[in-house]
Symmetry: C2
Subunit: 170 residues, 2 copies
Amino acid sequence: MHPMEEISSSDAFHAYRPEVVVFVLSVDGKGRPNGMVAAWNMKCSDEPPLLAVAAEKNTNTHRLIEESNEFVIAVPSKALEKDILYFGSVSGENVDKIKKSKIKTTPSKHIKTPLLADAALNFECRLRSSADAGECTIFIGIVLASHCDPQRKVLFYKGAKDGKRVFEEI
Amino acid sequence: MHPMEEISSSDAFHAYRPEVVVFVLSVDGKGRPNGMVAAWNMKCSDEPPLLAVAAEKNTNTHRLIEESNEFVIAVPSKALEKDILYFGSVSGENVDKIKKSKIKTTPSKHIKTPLLADAALNFECRLRSSADAGECTIFIGIVLASHCDPQRKVLFYKGAKDGKRVFEEI
């Protein structure tokens, strides 16, 4: 048995990986989509199908979800690796990240928020409830429809190595 | 661009991986520990450090956490692969899974629930709040202390292949 060492929560959170860094998209009052990426997300019920995502309170996407009560969770494929980095580096407050990145969207079936055409999976969600979580709000959405591209594999994040973010396909 | 196909949420949830299948431990009124494994877990705040885990309402561990207001999230290493399968296959209602599995524990610093000695990471959590999520409750815990074994790597779950569960080290 090796000894357990106490470390900072920050260091422990970094080691607590892999994560699936998903796109979280929503729309404003005029139906204009924008979004962010979020490493903190999980399934949380099979029946009804529910997804949870933790969004920082000061983000534009947090505001969009609170206003529209809907969001899309788009699980990235390798084709979206560059877009993950872009969406993670810019605030949507003053930038239309979808237009700027030229990321491809496709209409969803039940809500205004679009899907990402090059994602491995897309989940259309209606906000069901939310829970306070410190600097974040956990948004819990009921999945109205799920879409996949069977030719795409899920891309997940393993952490940084030598200052570079390492993603891998499942 | 490939076409997006609508699929069942159940199929989409299976494809939405990898997951870190963690041990969730807690104690009963007499301080006796027990636990389960949970694939649905995430970090949800850096400051304060918060972790969220979705626990099915009908589980013994759900009851323990509601009664004791504390839990440990133990992130497994390769050494615990067999125990993940065991903890996932048996209810703690009538079985002391810790004793039965001979899994090694070590005292935590601030709470009654023990750590797992062979985990890669252990988080001592005090229940901060909970949120309803269909068949599950999301328990949100504040991290009181984090522990790591620097010689252990995190084991994560990639899904089933040819009927066998595939785990891999990060």
